[in-house]
Symmetry: none
DNA sequence: CATGAATGAGGGTTCATTCAT
DNA sequence: TATGAATGAACCCTCATTCAT
């Protein structure tokens, strides 16, 4: 998904997509290790396998690279969430499955989420707004999925808070790993948080067991 | 609380404490505006009212400044939490009050918390560990407060998760303000999260109303 | 007049002439605005309507472009001067007319003359010499025109100096416009300089009035 | 004469003056050889005998260096002109002496004047205006000197033109040296231009001879 | 203890030029 | 002939840190 928010002096759009994918991949790899500020554009270009000049044919500033990274990570997460959520009917079982999927996705994306959290201040305001909108959209996906089940028990604002909590609790698995991952396995964390979330939603926990049993069959 | 983790070439410990306080205050002021990387040591010294040379008499690297800031913020929050928690008997009412206090503290400390979240990668590993330990200690304060009330209903791990959630949800008020503070007032947020937390803890929500009534009396 | 001093890898001489005309026109347009150094070869190619690759088929370096521009401007001025001077008999009236023509030409070519003056150092020595010779030729045109009239009153060196002065005073109208064009209209400047030049040549100024009268008839 | 138009982060004004003198001298030396654009800030610093970092303590941009150079050259010329002009009574003899002095000054400053002419476009607009005003002031010096002698024979605008011509003809000795200095010695040029100028001013040339005779006595 | 001038490695970015298609 | 993606040397400027006074 080529960003229209970042200008390139290359005309071949296929090539732009390809090279930017390389840039994003390299940048994420490096940002994970050293963060945005400690990574140089030269390193990104080198990691991507081309020269610094070439990098700047596809991107206008270092901040553009950061934006591309944000966009790519958000897109990836968004699409996965969407695939999970939109295909399944609203039901307690499905919500549990969704939580499970989401937390596992967050586990996989730990370091990427760290980047999101830590470098957002480095984005120019305009680009930052775009990114924040993307995150808002993701939260809305959860809301869509949960709303039908609890619309009668909770006010919209209550749901809003809960949905935010779920979203954040997923991210925290990676973000506070130095604490959480010393205490829990991923499975434990998911199970505990699921229980917590169901409590928040006033839904009987027995569903968790059911899912487990189903899996065993 | 003067850090023994940061070296100074000045012998007079009172002076060191005084100068470092100035450094911390200036650094926080500037980090809030521009972040750690965009703030120069010169600016910190100038803001503190002395020369760059003097700054380096009390600190060895820029990262030292960041560490002092972390320590100071953590100390501040820790002491406040401790004051609230340790003086009151464990009871649902007191837990609700504690949550209220904590969330209001987080509201007041929004920008500081942002710094904590965003710059931790910039700390050298050794210092980072110290900081993370400090945060762990804070979470333990919550655990102490809540444990007595729910020890029989929840496993230790369940409580651990919940306590982490509370801690994080407070921080998120400032961290996700672009989203949350558009939707909720602080009072609303506290009330909704309190309800959520009580649900998580399987405690009857009626307490919230009680507290409100008490306040009105 | 296609330059034989600049190499091209294209064989078709008509095409070379055509493309170079495009290059020159674009370059002048851009140099006027931003000067030689601030203009990129890419911009020149783009302005000319073809790709950067094509530009380099007709020119070997950016300095070649500058040289072509010099040559083109000089050619243009030279041809105009020649047309004026060579067709008319030497007479005071004609000299006055020539001065008038020349100053108006310089008015029209202000920005081009600015380029000539400001970028000559950017030409490689060899090309610079060619350009300077072209300018010398132009000065000689004036000398040809004036010599017959004053050969008996002035030494050759005296005439040489005067002719140079005339040449320079014309260029200065554009070059020192920030000063001159605030003080004089073009007509005023021409009239004043004509008087000055006639004084230099020891020619009775009454001719100026004559010319004016002739025009009115 | 320390420029108040260029900021420095050094507080010691004596030092600023000293270092800037070094910068100016080095820059002129290099600009003479390679022009402004081909000279790097590193080279200027190196030539001045200090590091690139130090250079940027006394200057904020490369354009600042250029401005300092302009200012210094203009100051130098202005002060010399002033010294010559203001100390002597208006008389034909003194005007001739002034022209002589001015042309010899221009001979000495050839390369500096070249810089003035060629790089003015590289100054930011604001600084350019300051520089142009300085040049205007210089022209006014000539006007002051000549005015008393010819106020009754010429209109103010006529004098304005003539004064400009004198100013320019002096600069041209250096600027068009490739042509003029091949044809004339400096003494010849001065003598010829003096005659020309006196003609422009309708003053009897015999004064020139007088001065020469006086010198011989 | 305090100062602030000096340092220079290093970073982001540009752009003339080349060459495979 | 024409194209335009790729290259990388080179440039301007910043800023953490040092050290002589």
């Amino acid at each position: 998904m080529r960003s229209t928010f970042v200008q390139s002096s290359i005309k071949d759009t296929t090539l732009v997509a390809k090279r930017r994918a390389q840039i994003i991949q390299s940048a994420i790899y490096l940002f994970k290790q050293k963060g945005f500020h400690r990574t140089t554009t030269r390193e990104i270009a080198e990691q991507a396998g081309f020269s610094i000049g070439t990098l700047y044919e596809y991107v206008r500033t270092k901040e553009d690279v950061l934006f591309l990274v944000y966009e790519a990570i958000n897109d990836y997460v968004y699409e996965h969430l969407q695939a999970i959520i939109e295909k399944s009917e609203p039901s307690v079982t499905n919500i549990i499955a969704m939580i499970d999927h989401y937390f596992r996705l967050m586990d996989e994306m730990q370091e990427e989420v760290l980047i999101l959290y830590q470098e957002i201040k480095s984005l120019p305001t305009e680009k930052r707004d775009i990114v924040l909108q993307q995150e808002r959209d993701m939260v809305q996906l959860f809301k869509q999925a949960i709303m039908p089940l609890v619309a009668h028990t909770f006010t919209e604002k209550e749901i809003e808070v809960i949905v935010n909590n779920i979203f954040v609790q997923g991210q925290m698995w990676g973000f506070r790993r130095w604490l959480l991952q010393r205490t829990f396995t991923l499975d434990e964390y998911i199970q505990l948080q699921t229980k917590t979330i169901l409590n928040m939603l006033h839904i009987d926990e027995s569903h968790i067991a059911h899912r487990k049993n189903e899996e065993q069959l």
